[in-house]
């Protein structure tokens, strides 16, 4: 199915945000080993995000400065909103300071930013 670039970016942002939320929540869970024991890397948002990134041009080099900044801001906001929603319900142990660090790490890994 042919998808336009904006739609692909939107899907990339959604999946990468989900994956980062997952990673931050994992660190707040006390029985993480329970999940680790069987979590196969068969299907997760990070794998899907990578698939979308491979469809967004330029594939082999970083995105333009304006695209990269827009994506970065969108992901940070999405992740922050998801985590704040949980904090407002009384979820403890969530470290919001990890957001920017993780977003930058994944965006660098996926050649979105330098």
């Amino acid at each position: 199915m042919v998808q336009n670039r904006n739609k692909l970016i939107e899907l990339f942002v959604g999946n990468l945000s989900n994956s980062i939320v997952h990673e931050i929540l994992e660190r707040a869970v006390s029985f993480k080993w329970l999940v680790d024991k069987y979590d196969k890397e068969m299907l997760n948002s990070l794998v899907i995000a990578k698939k979308y990134r491979e469809k967004i041009n330029p594939v082999k080099s970083c995105l333009s400065y304006s695209d990269a900044i827009e994506i970065r801001v969108k992901i940070i906001n999405k992740v922050r909103n998801e985590l704040r929603l949980r904090i407002s319900k009384g979820y403890d142990g969530i470290d919001l300071n990890l957001i920017e660090e993780l977003v930058d790490k994944y965006l660098r890994d996926m050649k979105v930013i330098e």
């Binding site: 959604g14 869970v29 029985f31 999940v35 196969k40 948002s45 319900k89 009384g90």
Partner: protein, 252 residues
Amino acid sequence: MDQIYIPKKRNGLVTGSYVVISALKIRGKVEKPYFYNVKDIEPLKLEMINEMREVIENNIENYDNVLFVGSFLDKRFNFNDIDIILISDDKVNIKELQRNIWRIAKIKIHIIVLSSKELIKGLSTDPWYLMMLSKYISKKRFIYNVKREINYKILDLHLLKSKGLSDNFDILKGNEKYYLVRNMVAILLFLEGKKIGVNIVDKKIEKFFKVKIENIKENMLEKKRFLNKYKEVYTRVFNEIMKGIKNGSKQK
């Protein structure tokens, strides 16, 4: 020089054929496995189980039980790898065991090593463990009686996996969609304190979505209708988890 006699009247091994002489490997007696909720299984799969058990027996010194679980036990041969739970208090070199099973039986396995205590903890707090153990073939009977303990954070983490189905509907394969729907419905049943098992969850999915499991696996879904229902169930489960987190934090 020693001699080996073979019958004069025989099929094959014509005079002048090159042969290899080796000692006959006598298979150790493999105990009859225990079947839980597995009504029938293809003989070939049973043969594979016996081969894997033999490798485990020869490689692992101390273990309490070994359970074969997952889609391998479903009818037909629609599985990617074989899921095995090894119950042992000792540390096990999983990679080596995987390599040995591959070398001898040419079977790709995914192995989880747990102590009995860990497995019981998993069964009391995590719907995935209940799903896994709703059907198995094992070395011996595994009896457990656990009190359900709801850990909302763990459930939230699991549910997050299913979040992407609506956005990624068009690129997901049927099996992947089934996995995500099943994950969500299992969490719902767990929260409601209901019995959990692959068949029970499958029936619930069919009831909720008014679609056959086979149709989900074959990716034959009516997108709009399916997603409307999916979002409705997802929101219900998510709100239930958030409510639990809220109540849990109030109790502290």
